[in-house]
Each structure stands twice: as structure tokens, then as C-alpha cells.
């Protein structure tokens, strides 16, 4: 049976992994390559790296870091932040990333999805989206609006419409990062994740709000997420990946058991 993926997220700033709440009050956690190695050894199924200052600083993603990570681990990882052209995608993939993630840039320029999918295949182009709950049914009928630039800008775009459009353009996977749940460690936004998962044919990765193994059980069982991103709950040492997997096994969620 296909297992549910547990994906630690490493937000990287100036070559250091950092963690904040809603992109604020960031605390330094360690070296990205060492942390990738450790989580891989502990049995995570995949990793995701966001170069969180690349876009703001108007520079491409840190390729040296991508190369170092690719040498250190033998499991898939995706990278995002500072991916603004097909050339940026090409550099990151040739450096050893399995997938590249686009977010704000794809909202501004959706054609990048089709260009990337045509050049490298849908399976390596990931859409990151940051939806926030809104009341304005006229503007966003699904109840969630896409934000960009680290939640700072509201776009007026309906989250479900955007997910479907991205699939039509050739996206291979969607990371649904709930703005409201991000960094709270109070659980994933189940309703939002399930709505996207039920309505797109590609894998959906839940992100934002993971605080306990029970939250992962919920998002896999109730929202049908294919994978879940975790950050604070393991970065702080509150939980380890084997502990999380034990709880998932006990709850009957299929996970990778041998590594």
C-alpha cells in the first residue's frame, strides 16, 4: 500500500534553518545539511527546503546548499523560494532536488507552471499555496483566498479555483499551507485540506499547524492528505519522527516502516 509521507520543512535564511510563527519572530535552529541528514536517518520520507529570503532579496535559490543536501541524503527533497524562471528550476533540479516549488510567482505568472511542466515533467513542479479563510463568498466561493509574499498580500483569488487551474497548467503536486494554522501547532486545517484533496487529481500535501502525532492522524484520515509537512514539533525536540510514525501505525495509517 502507498504510505503517507511525513515531510519535515526546513525554512532557511542565510544558510541557517529558522522557524517563526506566521513568518515572524524567527529563531535559528541549525545547519540545513546536518538537519536534513538527521531527519533522513530518523526515517522522514521526504524533505522540503524554503529559501525564505531569496524572493525578498531578489536573488535565486542558494544552489550550493541544494548541492550539499543532495550529496548528504538519498531521499527526495523539494526546494522553493527564489524560483522565478525555468532556468532557476533547471539549476535546482540539476543540483539534485527532486522537485521545485512555486508560490507567489506562479500567482503573478501562471505560465511558469506550464513552462516548467513541459521542460521537466509535471511530477517535479509543485505548487505551494497560502490560503486564508475569508467570509466574502462573492469573491472566494470556496471560503478561502490565496495570499502571497509570506501572507502579506491578499490576491482576491479563490483557493479551489487556483488549485484546479494549476492542475490544468500541469502542476504535479499541491502543498496547501493554511495561513490561519501556520505556526500555531494546534492542528492542520482539515476542512481546507480535504476540499482541495477531494477536488484535484494530483497528490495534496497538508501544511501548517502540526503540533502532535494526533494532528497527523487527523489530516490523513479526515482530510485524505497524501503527505503532511511538520516543522516546529520536531525542530524543538518535542517529538521525533519514529515517535510520530509509531502513533500513526497504532492509528492504522500506513507509513514507511523500514529505512
Amino acid at each position: 500500500m502507498l504510505t503517507r509521507r511525513i515531510i519535515p520543512c526546513l525554512d532557511v535564511r542565510n544558510k541557517i534553518v529558522t522557524k517563526g510563527v506566521k513568518f515572524q519572530n524567527n529563531v535559528d535552529l541549525g545547519d540545513p545539511v546536518e538537519m536534513a541528514q538527521r531527519y533522513s536517518d530518523e526515517g522522514c520520507d521526504e524533505l522540503v527546503f524554503y529559501d525564505i529570503t531569496a524572493s525578498a532579496e531578489g536573488r535565486p535559490i542558494d544552489i550550493v546548499m541544494v548541492e550539499e543536501v543532495a550529496r548528504a541524503i538519498r531521499i527526495p527533497f523539494s526546494v522553493g523560494g527564489g524560483i522565478s524562471t525555468v532556468e532557476d528550476m533547471s539549476r535546482a533540479l540539476l543540483a539534485g532536488a527532486e522537485k521545485v516549488s512555486v508560490n507567489s510567482l506562479a500567482v503573478k505568472n501562471p505560465a511558469i507552471i506550464a513552462e516548467g511542466a513541459k521542460a521537466f515533467g509535471s511530477q517535479c513542479i509543485v505548487l505551494g499555496m497560502d490560503p486564508v479563510a475569508v467570509d466574502d463568498a462573492a469573491k472566494c466561493p470556496c471560503g478561502y483566498e490565496i495570499t502571497t509574499r509570506g501572507f502579506r498580500e491578499h490576491t482576491g483569488i479563490d483557493a479551489l479555483e487556483w488549485a484546479k487551474k494549476a492542475v490544468d497548467l500541469g502542476i504535479g503536486e499541491i502543498v496547501v499551507n493554511s495561513v490561519d494554522a501556520d505556526g500555531t501547532r494546534e492542528g492542520f486545517e482539515i476542512e481546507l485540506t480535504r476540499m482541495i484533496a477531494e477536488n484535484v487529481p494530483v497528490p495534496v500535501v497538508a501544511s501548517g499547524g502540526a503540533g502532535t502525532p494526533g494532528h497527523l492522524v487527523e489530516v490523513f484520515e479526515q482530510a485524505h492528505a497524501d503527505a503532511a509537512i511538520i516543522a516546529g514539533m520536531i525542530h524543538t525536540g518535542d517529538y521525533t519522527i519514529p515517535q510520530i510514525k509509531e502513533d500513526l501505525v497504532r492509528a492504522g495509517v500506513p507509513v514507511r516502516k523500514k529505512w
Binding site: L2, T3, R71, F120, G121, A197, P201, P203, D226
Partner: protein, 211 residues
């Protein structure tokens, strides 16, 4: 030396880095002479079967691949490389493959909206028989998969490993003589995948003909 066949079908970096991690000399090449001179050949690939077959023919590599397999040297297909050595694929409106493995390659058509296509992630491989490439790897170990189409040999003698997904049981590993091929990506499958590649680098196929 291991030759990794380059036919512009996807990213070969992780294949190269996996051999580098094993300390094995591996070269990415589209040169038929280099491929035929290598001790071992890896035929990887990600992407669409139709475009890949066209490129292989343009590069003159379909005959090279047949010759490499006929020479008896260890040959490993991975993902799209595996699909292309079957007789036929449903992809791109129907494509004839190189035909080294009897059978065809079919599209996943899941009945559940929660079975996504492509299959992306770690799935277990049931070992139907003993094979040197699986030495030291426990039955039902998980490997990393990314694919929308799946191989189905017409002769079950070829099947080494099977995997369940989206209402079907497909052949995730096939082998005969000096030819082995996986639908999963050993180069992205952690220590277990690396063990398979290490086994491949030591494999002397004459010993495994007993299947």
C-alpha cells in the same frame, strides 16, 4: 565503470550521486561506444514514453541498448527506462518499446478520488522470488515511486517484485538473466535503495540464471 544512459529524459543527478555515495565510478553518457565498453549499464529516465523513444532512436541508442543486454553485462532499468524496454506502452496514444521484456505498460485508472495519479511516494515491494539485487533487503521493504503508468509482463516468470496501487497489483521489479528493471527509484529510496545499487555493482549475472 557504470554507464548511465543519457537520453534527455529527466534528471540523472540523483542516479549519479547514489553511485558516488557508493564510491563507484559512474559516467552519464549518450555515446554508444562508452555504453558498450562499460562493465555495467543503468537505463534510467523520467518523463513521457513517446518523446523518449523518439530521442533514443535519434541518438541511435535502441540498438545500443539491445546490444548491451545481449552482451551479458549487468543491465538495470529504472522507472521510464524500465517501461521503455517492454514491448508496448499505452502512453502518448500508444508507443512501441524496445521489446526486451514481454508485456505492456498501462495507465493507472483509480476508482477512488483519493488514489492520485501519478503514484508519488513510498510503497512496499513483495518479493516473489530470490534475486541477487534484493540480497539483504527485507520482503515488503518500501521504495520510492513516481509514475502514472505501470508495467505488466505477459510472462510471470519475469516478476521479481509486485506492488499494489489504485486497484491493481503491478510488477515493480522484473528480471531475467543479466537484465533487471525496477519501476521504483532505488537512487531515491534511502539506504535500502542504495543497497540494491550496491548489489547491482557486485552482481555477476551468470550465478543468477537459476531462475
Amino acid at each position: 565503470m557504470v554507464a548511465i544512459i543519457d537520453y534527455k529524459a529527466g534528471n540523472l543527478t540523483s542516479v549519479r550521486l547514489a553511485f558516488e555515495a557508493l564510491g563507484v565510478d559512474a559516467t552519464i553518457t549518450d555515446n554508444p561506444e562508452d555504453i558498450l565498453a562499460a562493465e555495467r549499464v543503468v537505463f534510467p529516465g523520467v518523463g513521457a514514453a513517446g518523446a523518449a523513444m523518439v530521442t533514443l532512436q535519434e541518438l541511435g541508442l535502441t540498438d545500443t541498448i539491445r546490444a548491451a543486454v545481449a552482451s551479458g553485462k549487468p543491465f538495470l532499468g529504472i522507472c521510464l527506462g524500465t517501461q521503455i524496454i517492454f514491448e508496448h506502452s499505452q502512453e502518448d496514444g500508444g508507443v512501441d518499446g524496445i521489446g526486451l521484456v514481454p508485456g505492456d505498460v498501462r495507465l493507472f485508472q483509480p476508482s477512488s478520488p483519493y488514489d492520485k495519479v501519478p503514484q508519488m511516494g513510498w510503497n512496499s515491494v513483495s518479493q516473489l522470488k530470490v534475486h541477487p539485487l534484493m540480497e539483504g533487503i527485507a520482503d515488503e521493504s518500501e521504495f520510492y515511486f513516481v509514475h502514472s503508468y505501470y508495467p505488466m509482463p505477459s510472462d510471470r516468470d519475469w516478476i521479481v517484485g509486485e506492488t499494489d496501487y489504485a486497484d491493481v497489483t503491478f510488477s515493480s521489479m522484473v528480471a531475467k538473466g543479466n537484465l533487471a528493471a525496477t519501476q521504483f527509484h532505488p537512487e531515491k529510496s534511502g539506504r535500502i535503495g542504495l543497497r540494491l545499487l550496491e548489489n547491482f555493482c557486485r552482481w555477476e549475472p551468470s550465478e543468477s540464471e537459476a531462475d
